[in-house]
Amino acid sequence: MALFRWYPIHELAVTIELDMQISPLALEKISLLKQLVKEEFSNSLCDLVPAYTSLTLCFKKEHSWKSYVHKIEMLISKAETTPPLIQKNKKIISKIPVCYELNFAIDLLNLSAQLKLSTEKIINLHLQQIYIVYAVGFIPGFPYMGEVLNELNVPRKVIPTPRIPAGSVAIANNQTGIYPFEVPGGWHVIGRTPLSLFDKTRDPLCLLEPGDQVQFFPISKSEFENWA
């Protein structure tokens, strides 16, 4: 049974994709694959981009993926037969403050109408889960987190919002994320965090990384404004 397939997305990039839905098991399989790729392709890659169920190999300019087809296929069969790593050290849970007040939660009222749930119910459902960071991307430091409870599962907006404020906490499908900067975006904004998700002067640059666990907790508008 083939778990993985691969395809080019660019002259210099190949994606290896897992035939699975978003799940902690998928995350483990992608981390295992990432480990194997790191061992096998040390010098020909300039970046390695994990996502929910995929890993993308970015080749250096002088290395076309075409000369690595055999190696990629070998690697896939190795990944398919290797049991997933056992997570030894349990990850700490990052606690992230979120202000859910309406002037920050710009899509909460619309969502309440769309989902036929009260705003309080939406907030409680969002606070109930501990989320796993599956990937960091889209823009610097944006954490793709899952999984949002089924009751909150809502497709992305058809027309993206032109300017989503920095720190906005948003949901779409079974995912939740935080916008580190003001950008256009298609997710539904239900709150805002005062934390900085990306800081070019900090090490590490990003607040969250794949594999991290996140729990949100509610704060008031005045707590938000006075957050150090």
Partner: protein, 293 residues
């Protein structure tokens, strides 16, 4: 000494080859939208190609040179004057202290590259001087250039290393036409669209929307509809990928595009044609030519 910005024009960004190796943190490479014109400007000035230069979008810039040097302008989107006298693109110019360079409106192209011998003195951030405004990385304070900016440039480079008295032109159709063909390959989600929609992608004349920028080219035409409503699990994307938004309108990702996306990827631009795209301004009509059978 330095370049002094009297007016940045529509947009002026400091760029080098880009920021490689940070896509896993969500940081795009950035770098020039038209790499061929970027390389030519550097070559003409006798630079190595690693230096930082300025990418101007369209017209309106007014720059004063505060020291003698050698410069080259490449690309398009503007005509240029030094002290109100028209100058040629794609060749070197010796400039004197106090010379005024202006970029005026022109009919074709979108981005002009101004290289200076020795390159601009800019502190690299995460390995690159390229400006990426959303995260305020590179350039001056991570932003576009503005009136009153003064940018030091390196001196000491050998004047003879510049290619003098020679004009080297790049064949880029977007510098002379309003209807442009772009070659592309099938994307990973090509099969998510039925045959009629697939052929519509290549038959349609797509207009580049005014909302387009370095993150992406938004195209206008008849909507491309999926066979059935399917949500893609967000996955890596790269510049040149053509994704289809829920409204059916395609977006071609540019140098500052997101690193992960969740829209179906119907096709991807053949990489050498990205320089043609980088010179397409809003309003241009695009046609896609599919390279795969």
């Amino acid at each position: 000494m330095s370049l002094f910005i009297h007016k940045p024009g529509i947009q002026a960004l400091i760029q080098d080859r880009g920021r490689v190796g940070y896509r896993h943190l969500g940081i795009p490479e950035s770098g020039p939208m038209d790499i061929h014109s970027f390389e030519l400007a550097q070559l003409l000035c006798g630079n190595t190609g690693q230096e930082a230069l300025v990418e101007f979008t369209l017209h309106g810039a007014h720059i004063e040179l505060e020291k003698a040097s050698v410069i080259a302008l490449t690309g398009g989107g503007a005509t240029a004057t030094i002290n109100n006298k028209k100058i040629d693109f794609n060749t070197t110019h010796s400039v004197e202290k106090g010379d005024h360079l202006k970029l005026l409106a022109s009919e074709f192209g979108c981005r002009t590259y101004l290289a200076i011998q020795g390159g601009l003195k800019i502190n690299a951030e995460l390995g690159s001087c390229s400006t990426y405004t959303p995260a305020q990385l590179g350039g001056i304070e991570g932003r576009a250039l503005k009136k009153g900016d003064r940018i030091e440039f390196n001196t000491g480079a050998n004047k003879k290393s510049a290619i003098n008295n020679m004009q080297i032109n790049i064949d880029n159709p977007a510098l002379e036409k309003n209807e442009i063909a772009i070659r592309c390959h099938k994307g990973p989600e090509w099969e998510w669209f039925d045959n009629a929609t697939q052929s519509q992608l290549v038959k349609e004349n797509w207009r580049i929307s005014p909302q387009s920028n370095r993150m992406g080219y938004q195209l206008q035409g008849s909507p491309l509809l999926l066979k059935e409503k399917t949500e893609l699990i967000s996955t890596a994307v790269m510049p040149g990928i053509i994704q289809v938004t829920p409204s059916g309108m395609p977006i071609i990702l540019g140098a500052d595009a997101q690193t992960i996306g969740g829209y179906p990827r119907i096709a991807r631009v053949h990489t050498p044609d990205m320089s043609i795209l980088g010179q397409c301004r809003p309003g241009i009509l695009l046609r896609f030519q599919l390279l795969d059978k």
